[in-house]
């Protein structure tokens, strides 16, 4: 198996039905884990679960609205059942509403917080409560965004929620370290996922400018960092956020003649 070995680890990928979630589920499977796939759409979850089984690993397809706490608790219990215990929980779910701060309405603001921050509380709490109750170590990894580290111009609610997520990761990491639970984030810049490409086409999300090309991540780039972080190779890494963006955000901020 090599040095990145997750043989027989039970995993749950929240938002595993496409894009970064699918890429992560498949990488986890390649590393030997048994990833359960949770998605808002059961058909997508089933498709990825099939692909996982194609790697000879165990999986299950589950569907839930992760902004609903009761559904989260119940689906995590199901996932545990399906693979005989969870060691790894990855949560990819998120998405931005595009609206300027001067006009954004309350409903949009709250929805972006529900979709980008609150469900992380539900999922992480549920997973951690199980681990603590069973005195079992665990690894959590979430997907944040550079929008939570820099300005999130015209998508300010998303940015604030993602910034909140980065804080949550640090606090959870500190509180849960004594229980053997590690919590980290992967921070993408722009990722070429099927959903993003559809949004760019539809014009609902602004397309990145041409000079970003080469730094735009593929879903596997995010999945690769996640897979590393939830493995024993990262057993002393917690409370961290790895930026995966081809170094774009470390550029000198001014154009020079």
């Amino acid at each position: 198996m090599g040095i990145l070995d997750l043989t027989d680890r039970g995993a749950l990928v929240v938002g595993g039905g496409q894009g970064m979630g699918r890429a992560t589920a498949l990488l986890l499977a390649q590393a030997g884990a048994n990833p359960v796939v949770l998605d808002a759409e059961i058909a997508r979850a089933e498709s990825v679960a099939s692909e996982v089984e194609g790697f000879g690993r165990k999986s299950a397809a589950l569907s839930a609205d992760v902004t609903d706490r009761t559904q989260v608790q119940s689906v995590i219990a199901e996932a545990e059942q399906a693979v005989g215990g969870l060691d790894i929980v990855v949560n990819i779910v998120g998405g931005a509403s595009w609206a300027p701060l001067i006009a954004v309405d309350e409903e949009t603001w709250e929805r972006d917080f529900a979709v980008n921050l609150k469900h992380h509380l539900y999922v992480s709490q549920s997973a951690a409560q199980n681990w603590v109750a069973h005195e079992r170590p665990g690894a959590l990894c979430v997907v944040a965004s550079v929008s939570g580290m820099f300005s999130a111009a015209r998508h300010g609610a998303y940015g604030a929620a993602k910034a909140g997520l980065l804080s949550f990761v640090k606090s959870a990491a500190e509180e849960w370290w004594p229980h053997g639970i590690r919590v980290n984030a992967v921070v993408p810049g722009t990722v070429r996922t099927p959903r993003m490409e559809a949004e760019w086409e539809a014009g609902t999300t602004p397309r990145p400018a041409a000079d970003l090309l080469g730094t735009i991540a593929e879903p596997e780039d995010i999945g690769g960092a996640i897979t590393f972080l939830v493995s024993d190779l990262a057993r002393k890494i917690t409370g961290q956020a790895i930026i995966v963006d081809g170094g774009w955000t470390t550029r000198f901020p001014y154009s020079l003649t």
């Binding site: 370290w177 690769g224 897979t227 190779l233 002393k236 961290q240 170094g247 470390t250």
Partner: protein, 257 residues
Amino acid sequence: MSLLDLSERSALVVGAGKGIGRATAVRLGAAGAHTVVLDRHADRAESVAREIREAGGRADFVVADATDVDSLEETIDAVWARAPGLDVLVNITGSATWVPLLEMEEADWDRDFRVNLDQHLCVGRAVVKRWEAVERAGVVCLVGSISGRFAASGHAAYGAAKAGLLSLVQTAAQEWWPLGVRVNAVLPGSVRTPRIEETLMDPDRPIPEDLLARMLMPEDVAAAIAFLASDLARRVTGQALLLDSGVTTRFPYSLTE
């Protein structure tokens, strides 16, 4: 096929004779890389190379002082002869002079800059110039330190040099991205190297249990370097990965219950 596979790669580990360097050379060898062990001490260099081979890996060694600018080209030639082209450069070398700022002499400052910053630049450039000539998209990983991000009390020159190293990593990452070259750093917190182990054994200065549990083994640093060297990190560049069991992200104040 293992996820973190370096069997098509060759790697140079500068300062591989013991501690983090040795653990890194051994880890890269275990991931399949043809590893060139470089150290000032002949017996250590040879021993680590043998250790890699005995574990079924491929290794060579070069005995040289990487801080000696005059012999650097010759040293890199010797490495190239054993691993033509090279793919991965890891530079572990560094050491701190412990002296308060008010007592520090210019020679102390200069020495710490030479060993902890200048040397990384010189070795890096020597390798990357060769990569540019053969259009090799290589990977550089430097070992920095927490002391470059926070106060380096009592070892100010080391801290300033390591901070400089972080800047260099970002600049090099930007300048060399068009060459396909990635540059990152790992920042270890407290590592149980053989040197540190001795101080841990002192019965008059017991280490608190929590601190001990958060200390890294050299293998933990090696694991992060292996990740950064691999294709799992192909869009990670200009980054500094903090390896500290969450110590530096803790709430800064002690709280009463």
